[in-house]
């Protein structure tokens, strides 16, 4: 990892023992995390408490207890200072629909303290950036979900804040739109910011995040750099074979005696299995010849955040039960 300059280190976010309750629901349960600068993915299923955490950091919610520090300031007592440094893209619809995009973005830029003569050219610049073309002169009520998401991003970056909170930025977008959105975030990240991106979609975060925070039920599950989290799946290999069904069955049985098998997927005339093999692949090749099946593929199975997520949730469940298997 490259050395962080002091100016960058200041942009970190920490929370300690934050608890937020809505009636009987505990949305954040002594949530403790340190968010470094760079792009940080906040990952968790719906209802995990991601949006609640972001709102607490903005000073929109007052936690029952705990402490938060955003770039060296307390969002509960130094709210205006903190908010002037932040750009926030809310999860749900929030745009003022009778405005057109240029007017809205430059208006909100001014509400963030830009002068009009700066805000107007800047709003054109950010709308170019997010990919809103001539439609910017139409009222927002006529926009598609994808376009609204882009305008929501534009209003969050118009004043070029040092910190960005993007709450489910790909919400409601099609696959191409999601990819575009993550690419925009990656481009923004080149300008030394702290960007907290929440999502329940693992693929989205995997591509852009330097660091991932995984949460569930208002609690931290695990966190770390992408590389660290994905390394946990070392040694997993995908094995794909074709052949007569009986041969394939015996092949898989024999394979299971040699290696730990994670999963088996049976297709039409083809079987795929994920095995743990940290050694060389020769025994697998030999086995396939011996059993008369055609080896169509043998390659390292790339771990996904999904695996990490499922893995850690299971580990935590096991720990709670008290008698889980040993965790390496």
């Amino acid at each position: 990892m490259s050395e962080k300059r002091p100016a960058q280190r200041l942009l970190t976010i920490t929370s300690k023992d934050i608890t937020v309750r809505f009636g009987k629901i505990t949305a954040l349960d002594k949530f403790t995390v340190n968010v470094p600068s760079g792009v940080v993915g906040l990952l968790g299923p719906n209802g995990a408490g991601k949006s609640t955490f972001i709102k607490a950091l903005l000073g929109l919610l007052r936690p029952e207890n705990g402490k938060m520090i955003v770039a060296g300031y307390d969002p509960l007592t130094e709210t205006s200072t903190v908010r002037d440094m932040i750009g926030y893209m809310p999860e749900h619809d929030c745009l003022i629909e009778e405005f057109n995009a240029v007017d809205l973005v430059s208006y909100l830029g001014q509400i963030s303290g830009m002068m009009k003569r700066d805000a107007i050219p800047r709003s054109h610049e950010v709308l170019d950036f997010v990919g809103i073309g001539e439609e910017r002169y139409r009222t927002i009520s006529s926009y598609s979900t994808g376009m609204k998401q882009r305008v929501k991003l534009a209003q969050a970056i118009v004043h070029d804040p040092a910190i960005l909170f993007l709450d489910e930025p790909t919400n409601g977008m099609d696959p191409q739109g999601r990819e575009d959105m993550m690419e925009l975030i990656r481009k923004i990240s080149l300008s030394d910011k702290t960007i907290l991106v929440s999502s329940h979609i693992l693929d989205d975060l995997e591509r852009v995040s330097d660091h991932i925070v995984i949460m569930n039920d208002g609690r931290l599950i695990t966190e770390g750099s992408i590389d660290d989290l994905l390394a946990k799946k070392d040694g997993q290999k995908m094995v794909k074979v074709r052949g007569i069904p009986e041969n394939m069955e015996t092949f898989i049985k024999a394979l299971a005696e040699m290696y730990e098998i994670r999963s088996v997927v049976k297709g039409r005339g083809e079987i795929s299995a994920v095995v743990i093999n940290k050694g060389p692949g020769n025994p697998v090749f030999k086995l396939s010849r011996d059993k008369g099946v055609q080896l169509r593929g043998y390659y390292p199975e790339r771990a996904t955040l999904e695996d990490v997520f499922i893995g850690t949730v299971e580990q935590n469940l096991d720990k709670e039960k008290g008698g889980g298997p040993d965790v390496n």
Binding site: L60, P90, D93, M115, K116, K187
Partner: protein, 273 residues
């Protein structure tokens, strides 16, 4: 479109102070309202009906000074009152209802904007819009009457001009909090609009009916509140039947209690959502 990907460009410039941002909000509100053809139409008709006659009655005939009674009459005019109510219903209806419906509160409150600044921005915008009808015209009229007066002593006229300015500010502001409050109670601007208009109407009727039994009830009638306020500010004296303490109390209640209620309502809705 070029293939060349557009890169993110940072921006560094000065930020304005928080007070200027309230002004930005008010001006944006004002411009938005003037784009509404119904409000524009109402403003034009109102300006014409309320002022055209005054030109012939007050400015053209010979007059010695600017008289407080003339201004009290002009501003206490029933037609002016009705147009204020209509305009308030239209101007205030969507101010908060619309932000509630579209959830755009969060765009303000995630920025360095406090509830009171937000409210001040909305009130400022409503005030600017309504002042086109109920503040500037009376003041201009007063200046015009002064400019055409035959007496060469201007002292008394200046006092009346000052009273006109204060009266103009108060009658313009007076119903805005109530309008905002009703707007904050619903997500439908049409409900807010009709609700505002009906509330005034019902209060007038209730005041009228119950004042038969006890004269204090007439103070429920907003148009009478207006009338008595103008009598007082232009130093013309109030009828003996008027309970001055009660009048002052109701007057202040109408102006300020809705403000507190809107404040609470916004905090409840906007913060923690």
């Amino acid at each position: 479109m070029s293939i060349d990907p557009i890169t993110y460009k940072p921006w560094s410039g000065e930020r304005t102070n928080h007070l200027e941002r309230v002004w930005v909000m008010s001006m944006a509100f004002f411009r938005q309202k003037l784009k509404s053809k119904w409000i524009l139409l109402l403003l034009i008709i109102g300006l014409f009906l309320v002022n055209i006659i005054s030109i012939f009655v007050y400015i053209l005939p010979p007059h010695e000074v600017l008289d407080g009674e003339v201004m009290a009459d002009q501003m206490g005019n029933g037609l002016l009152f009705i147009f204020i109510i209509l305009l308030i219903s239209m101007i205030c209806s969507d101010t908060i209802a619309e932000d509630l419906r579209s959830n755009s509160f969060v765009l303000y409150f995630s920025r360095a904007m406090k509830t009171e600044s937000y409210l001040a921005g909305k009130i400022g915008g409503a005030f600017l819009t309504l002042s086109v009808f109920s503040f500037f015209p009376p003041v201009v009229l007063a200046i015009a009457i002064m400019a055409t007066q035959s007496s060469s002593s201007y002292g008394d006229s200046l006092v009346v001009l000052g009273q006109t300015v204060i009266a103009g500010l108060v009658i313009t502001f007076f119903f805005i909090p109530a309008g905002l409050f009703i707007s904050s109670m619903t997500k439908r601007k049409s409900y807010a609009s009709v609700g505002t208009f009906m509330s005034f109407f019902i209060l007038m009727i209730v005041g009228g009916i119950f004042s038969e039994f006890n004269p204090d009830w007439e103070l429920m009638d907003p148009s009478l509140l207006f009338y008595y306020f103008l009598q007082a500010i232009f130093g013309l004296g109030l009828p003996n039947s008027v309970n001055v303490g009660l009048l002052t109390g109701i007057f202040l209640t109408v102006m300020f209690v809705p403000l507190i209620l809107v404040y609470i309502r916004i905090n409840q809705k906007a913060v923690g959502k």
